[in-house]
């Protein structure tokens, strides 16, 4: 397989100039502004979450700054009825799919109500085990095909996820069953501290699609329009019955792997950080929109204020949510309460009522 097939797909360069007019997606001015709105809002959500995390007011959190184009661009290309099978970093896509912000904070804190999706939302809870969502995606896609719905499922993982056995099993199953699945690998260059080029001898992750007999594409993951266009094409193929696609988005996470003690200065240089920040998805999209007179500092400031206010309101809701009880956890273990849990439920209810 010649490498040229996996050249990085790009539409906007680092200066916000269109370099690939032929592939320009058909988006209205409002839609273009909406993509920028979501990316700015997401950047603020991330900044606030990092700050709340450092104050000890959140639980587990994996920063997303640097990945906005990859996350928002791909999610913007799917439909409301489509399914998402996210990894733990993929909270923004869930939120733009309809998952309330305050519930994402409950999930972060380990409260079971964080996993209760709003009625009708087609999404799995963020997956903790690397790659588990990928085999599940094959199953969801097969289910959608069997129901005859024109829906697709999009799953997300990182470059480390592409090393897992489940990554190969999931893609192979999806290919073999010819189902409407989109596998997005957000190659943010590091699996905690291990660089992408130590994950695999393959020149691209996109080319791993060849072995599964499915489409593969590598995209500039700092370019929202390129990510959007690639995902839209993958979705169209999925719902047209043309099978799954693997999309590798080349991006970067500016922050640590998670707020649970990771220190990226131990494995990355500031030169490397600076190099990637020059490709920032927000900067280039802002320049592009400004060149079309579709963006202003004032508009952006309004979004910043809106996001900050939403975070505040969501935190208030979280802090007003009653603490979960062990008896509630026993009740939600399954549909039916087996005899051992029945006994333990009584024990914990008695304990809780005496507190």
């Amino acid at each position: 397989m010649a490498k040229h097939k996996y050249e990085t797909f790009q539409i906007l360069d680092e200066n916000g100039k269109v370099v690939n007019e032929d592939e320009m997606p058909d988006l209205s001015d409002e839609q273009l502004q909406d993509i920028m709105y979501r990316m700015v809002y997401t950047r603020i959500l991330d900044q606030r979450a990092v700050s709340l995390g450092r104050q000890g007011r959140l639980g587990f959190y994996a920063p997303v700054a640097g990945q906005e184009a990859s996350m928002i661009g791909s999610h913007y290309a799917i439909d409301k009825e489509d399914w998402i099978a996210p990894g733990y970093r993929d909270i923004p896509q869930l939120i733009w799919h309809g998952y309330p912000l305050w519930q994402s904070y409950l999930f972060s804190k380990g409260h079971y109500k964080g996993g209760q999706m709003p009625e009708g939302l087609n999404a799995l809870v963020p997956q903790i085990i690397i790659g588990a969502q990928i085999v599940q995606t094959a199953g969801i896609a097969l289910g959608l095909k069997k129901k005859g719905n024109s829906q697709a499922v999009i799953s997300y993982t990182g470059d480390g996820g592409a090393s897992q056995g489940d990554f190969y099993e999931g893609m192979n199953f999806a290919g073999a069953f010819h189902v409407p699945a989109i596998f997005v690998v957000q190659n943010n260059q590091y699996a905690i501290s291990v660089p992408a080029d130590e994950q695999t001898a393959a020149e691209t992750i996109a080319q791993k699609a060849v072995a599964a007999g499915i489409e593969g594409v590598q995209v500039d993951g700092m370019d929202a329009l390129a990510v959007y266009a690639a995902t839209q094409k993958a979705r169209q193929n999925a719902v047209d019955g043309d099978g799954p696609t693997l999309i590798e988005t080349l991006c970067y996470r500016y922050g640590p792997h998670s707020l649970s003690g990771d220190d990226p200065t131990r494995y990355r240089t500031s030169e490397e950080d600076d190099e990637w920040e020059k490709r920032d998805p927000l900067v280039r999209f802002r320049k592009y929109l400004e060149s079309k007179d579709l963006w202003s500092e004032e508009k952006e400031n309004e979004i910043v204020d809106e996001a900050k206010a939403d975070v505040k309101a969501a935190m208030k809701e979280v802090e007003e949510t009653p603490r979960q009880k062990v008896s509630e956890l026993i009740e939600i273990m399954g549909n039916e309460l087996p005899n051992n849990l029945q006994e333990q439920l009584e024990e914990y209810r008695a304990k809780e009522s005496s507190e």
């Binding site: 399914w83 079971y112 109500k113 996993g115 209760q116 999706m117 799995l124 809870v125 085990i129 588990a132 990928i134 085999v135 599940q136 995606t137 094959a138 199953g139 969801i140 896609a141 097969l142 289910g143 959608l144 069997k146 129901k147 499922v153 056995g165 489940d166 099993e169 999931g170 192979n172 199953f173 073999a176 956890l329 939600i332 273990m333 399954g334 549909n335 039916e336 087996p338 005899n339 051992n340 849990l341």
Partner: protein, 325 residues
């Protein structure tokens, strides 16, 4: 009523539920056209079509993920793991994913999945085919572990498992597939999960067993009756969670217990039951709770398995020692 082997009863249960509910799907390696390596799914693809009964690529974790994804999109999957030793490949799917779907989503999603796998020794299968790994799954909250010992129970328990909205690990002892026959109703019926069955009543000692060991326990009880020892034989049917009420009630009557399993001694189902009997009925005991198990080695496939596996003689010996304590 029809006379059926256990494997026919299992096939019949799946046929019944495939007919009864169009969301029931059956899949795994070789289960489709070929009808399964043991012929457990024979004829089902022909009857229900490739859309409902189908082969998968050879990858157990993929099969588990498929079941989870199909479960959340409204199907009721029956997935087959070809031999129990291959469950290690899908351990995350079983113990890490489907077992906690309801909990993790606060009840938003279920895992209405039945995982079928053949297990059990004495039939000269290769390494990692006959192991008794039910104890590993019994350690996992959120998943039931069901092991039938008769054709009647096999059909009724499998129908209950398929209808359950919680995941069930349903284990089929290979030695029992064709070695015994029994009356099995042709219509749909269920046997309650989590409920043990008293297979033989007795006042002197309680035998707690499951799977093929139920038959060894019955054989031991039969021989002991010739010496005027009346053993009560309890067939657990579900090994997680265990029906402790039935066990404790029996022990309070007999004052002695032997817990029997084909698996190795360390940890496992019998260890848990022994501890529960001690906690709940120690003052009713005339002797320590005894266990009959395999030794704590890797399963010695083929040549030594007949010596390694516990049998009715081991049970008789333990029963006598318990009574003479």
């Amino acid at each position: 009523m029809a006379e059926m082997t256990m494997i026919k009863a299992i096939t019949d249960a799946m046929r019944t539920e495939l007919k009864n509910d169009e969301d029931v799907l059956l899949f795994g390696e070789d289960v489709g056209y070929y009808g399964g390596v043991f012929r457990a799914t024979e004829g089902l693809q022909e009857e229900f079509g490739e859309d409902r009964v189908f082969d998968t690529p050879l990858a157990e974790s993929g099969i588990g993920g498929l079941a989870i994804g199909l479960g959340v999109t409204g199907f009721r999957p029956i997935m087959e793991i070809q031999f129990i030793g291959f469950m290690f490949e899908v351990m995350d799917g079983l113990a890490g994913q489907m077992s906690r779907m309801h909990y993790r989503t606060g009840g938003y999603y279920d895992s209405p999945i039945t995982v079928r796998a053949p297990f059990g020794g004495g039939v000269k299968t290769p390494e990692l085919h006959p192991d008794s790994l039910e104890g590993l799954m019994a350690q996992t909250p959120g998943i039931r572990v069901v092991i039938p010992s008769t054709p009647y129970d096999a059909k009724g328990l499998l129908i209950s498992s398929i209808r359950s909205n919680d995941p069930v690990f349903y284990l089929e002892h290979m030695k029992l597939y064709r070695s015994l026959k029994g009356e099995v109703p042709e219509e749909a019926y269920t046997v309650d999960l989590d409920k043990a069955d008293i297979k033989r009543e007795g006042d002197d000692i309680t035998f707690v067993a499951y799977g093929a060991m139920v038959h060894s326990a019955l054989k031991a009880a039969e021989q002991l009756s010739e010496e005027n020892i009346a053993a009560e034989v309890i067939d657990l049917r579900t090994v997680s969670p265990v029906d402790l009420d039935t066990i404790i009630e029996s022990v309070k009557k007999t004052n002695r217990a032997v817990v029997i399993q084909e698996a190795q001694k360390q940890a496992g189902v019998a260890a848990g039951i022994s501890a529960e009997i001690s906690e709940r009925a120690i003052l009713h005991l005339e002797a320590p709770v005894a266990r009959v198990t395999a030794p704590d080695t890797v399963y010695p496939f083929a040549s030594d398995e007949d010596v390694w596996l516990p049998d009715h003689n081991d049970i008789i010996e333990k029963a006598k020692a318990t009574i003479d304590f």
